[in-house]
């Protein structure tokens, strides 16, 4: 932890009994380029993902949510990036793992689905070739066996006429279909962890709902754990067991889905929920945006990063960073540990 550290150590969100599938501890990612001030994109994130569970990471652009997942998988590259902390998958440290072992793990044990299905598929290869490539790499399937399995996968993600679709190129498919193909590729080897980085952001609302429904069918309730990265609380609402809200590289609130929506304690979470327009409001009720923009932040070392935009700012907000602590008013025992908030003046009545 960098000085000056918080006076009180952060509690770890999502920590429960037993060894979690994915265990992230104090992950820090700093981007530096010559002649510029280093940027800390992820600043001490700790979280656990239990096997088979669904975890949401919510935050606006630049809050460090995507970088967290890319860093965990070692996909950030090496130039100008410093990653510290630890990421353990099934007890094995991913950050210190040799690249070859990590590559063998990616796609087989941990898979990712990206935001933009328009650009995440190779335009010059057929859909079938791109799926069989993964099967060939991890399962050693070749030729007709691989094609048969690929067709099965397409059917499982709801693409009909699969055998013919295998021969199509990405540009011949619609956005929703392409995202289905991406999901088929990610689930090809039945990974134990699927990281979906804004899987529905580039899609329109109805297709987005279908994709979420598909993820729910294939992943939720199965043995695959899902980490859903999104800026849309609505996406999280339907799917996730545990939700982490990130702001400026740190988790500011962490709670199971129900308490988070019923009783948001951090002013940022509260602001996000309040800014969603509601149908039951009277016509003409003004929208309630969070004032300022994500660039109006304070370095965490100087206090709460959200303070410049916060409506509940008190003098205690500045000086030292607030710690992530069990939420006031949360139930005792396990539930108490499950709802954490990083705020000195949390919202009391989260309405």
């Amino acid at each position: 932890m960098t000085a000056p550290g918080p006076a009180v150590a952060d509690a770890v969100p999502g920590a429960g009994a037993g060894t979690p599938l994915l265990e992230v501890r104090d992950l820090q990612v700093t981007f530096s380029s010559r002649g510029r001030r280093p940027v800390k994109a992820v600043d001490g994130v700790s979280l656990d993902v239990a096997a088979g569970s669904t975890v949401g990471i919510v935050g606006e652009s630049g809050s460090g949510k995507s970088v967290t997942s890319l860093a965990a998988l070692g996909l950030l590259g090496t130039r100008g990036v410093q990653v510290s902390g630890s990421v353990r998958f099934d007890g094995e440290d991913l950050l210190g793992m040799p690249e070859a072992e990590l590559r063998a793990l990616r796609g087989r044990e941990i898979a990712m689905v990206f935001q933009d299905p328009m650009s995440s598929l190779n335009p010059v290869l057929t859909v079938g070739r791109q799926i069989t490539e993964i099967l060939e790499r991890h399962r050693g399937l070749k030729g007709q066996d691989a094609r048969d399995r690929a067709a099965e996968l397409l059917v499982s993600v709801g693409i009909g006429d699969a055998v013919r679709r295998l021969r199509t190129y990405p540009h011949q498919l619609s956005g929703g279909m392409r995202q289905r193909v991406m999901i088929a590729m990610a689930l090809a080897c039945e990974p134990r962890l699927l990281i979906a980085d804004e899987p529905t952001t580039a899609l329109d609302v109805t297709i987005s709902a279908q994709i979420l429904e598909l993820l729910r069918e294939l992943v939720v309730g199965s043995q695959t754990a899902l980490v859903l990265i999104t800026h849309d609380l609505g996406v999280v609402a339907g799917l996730c067991d545990q939700v982490h809200v990130m702001y400026s590289g740190r988790i500011v609130e962490s709670a199971p889905r129900r308490p988070l929506f019923a009783d948001p304690q951090h002013p940022y979470t509260n602001g996000l929920l309040a800014s969603v327009p509601r149908l039951d409001q009277a016509r003409g009720t003004p929208l309630l945006p969070i004032p300022g923009s994500p660039s109006d932040t304070l370095p965490w070392a100087e206090g709460c990063a959200f303070a410049p935009r916060c409506t509940r700012q008190v003098p205690d907000c500045l000086g030292s960073p607030p710690a992530l602590l069990p939420a006031r008013g949360a139930a005792r025992g396990a539930a108490r540990e499950a709802h954490l908030v990083r705020c000195v003046n949390p919202v009391e009545d989260g309405s």
Binding site: G107, M112, S119, V124, Q130, R137
Partner: protein, 304 residues
């Protein structure tokens, strides 16, 4: 499954049956809709046709002289027997222009092949490995590009001696850094693309990502450049011949040389300079138009 209805809808929204097929077919389809491409392709095909069938098309041998009609300082202009007239040595100008297409085409193809092959190999190395390999290749390319291309070609051709082969090598070498740079740049940008990241995230090895995903996606600008390089190769070959660096054999009907030779008679017989000039312009224009149209047809941003 509850999704079957949505699936049916998506199926109808995707492209109709006739639109299926590879990217190549897609590009060809778009080329056929572009008037620029059609004009370019027609000129190129005409040029290639003339070059290939020169012996059947040319009314006379390019070296046969009709000395009865030529006197110093005065050559008969266009006539029914000699459509474009006779040159200073009494040879049929039209036949020489027709045979000249052969030399231009061969020089163009061979030199671009040399430039593209070596350049792409170097660009692939630089783009795939990065680091010091990249620095070495790119600094070498920078040094070559620092010298104006025609000047560099003149230097190399002069060094190798006067022959058609040395013209081809000279123009080929001049093209090497262009292709190396282009492929390397395209590969660097494709390496950062989402699909490269996506395939890495699914465990595809680095070598495979570069060769199977990044490299094929980086070829479009190279194909376009090859077409445009054919055009510049023709002008450069003509330039070298004009400067006397082509083949020393005076019987070879090379357009650049023909321009140079008629230079002395420009005041009295301007038409003799016009024909080879026009031949160069038309063939170069064809390759340029085709190249520009290809650029648009192959641009993934405009695809859909």
């Amino acid at each position: 499954m509850s999704l079957s209805g949505a699936e049916a809808q998506e199926t109808t929204l995707s492209q109709p049956e006739e639109a299926r097929g590879g990217l190549l077919r897609d590009a060809v389809r778009r080329l056929r809709r572009s008037p620029q491409a059609i004009v370019g392709a027609t000129l190129v095909l005409l040029f290639v046709f003339v070059a290939v069938f020169a012996p059947w098309l040319a009314p006379y041998s390019p070296t046969a002289q009709d000395l009865s009609q030529v006197r110093p300082g005065s050559f008969p202009g266009p006539s029914a027997e000699h459509l474009l007239g006779l040159d200073q040595l009494g040879r049929d100008e039209l036949s020489r222009i027709i045979y000249g297409a052969r030399y231009s085409l061969i020089i163009g193809i061979v030199s671009v092949t040399i430039g593209a092959t070596v350049g792409m190999a170097l660009g692939l190395l630089a783009g795939a490995f990065g680091g010091w390999v990249d620095s070495l290749v790119m600094r070498g390319a920078d040094i070559m590009l620092a010298v104006p291309s025609l000047l560099l070609a003149i230097g190399i051709a002069a060094l190798l001696g006067r022959s058609i082969i040395s013209v081809m090598i000279a123009i080929g070498v001049v093209n090497i850094p262009v292709f190396a740079r282009l492929l390397r740049g395209a590969m660097l940008s494709q390496r950062e693309s989402d699909y490269a990241l996506a395939s890495r995230s699914l465990g595809v090895t680095k070598g495979r990502v570069v060769l199977k995903h990044v490299f094929p996606n980086s070829l479009a600008p190279v194909i376009v450049q090859a077409t445009l390089a054919l055009a510049t190769a023709i002008t450069e070959a003509a330039g070298l011949a004009f400067l006397g660096l082509g083949s020393p054999d005076p019987s070879i009907p090379e357009w650049g040389r023909m321009l140079a030779e008629t230079n002395a008679y420009l005041a009295s017989e301007p038409l003799l300079a016009l024909w080879p000039g026009l031949a160069i312009v038309i063939s170069v224009l064809g390759f340029y138009l085709l190249g520009e149209a290809l650029r648009e047809a192959l641009d993934p941003k405009l695809r859909r």
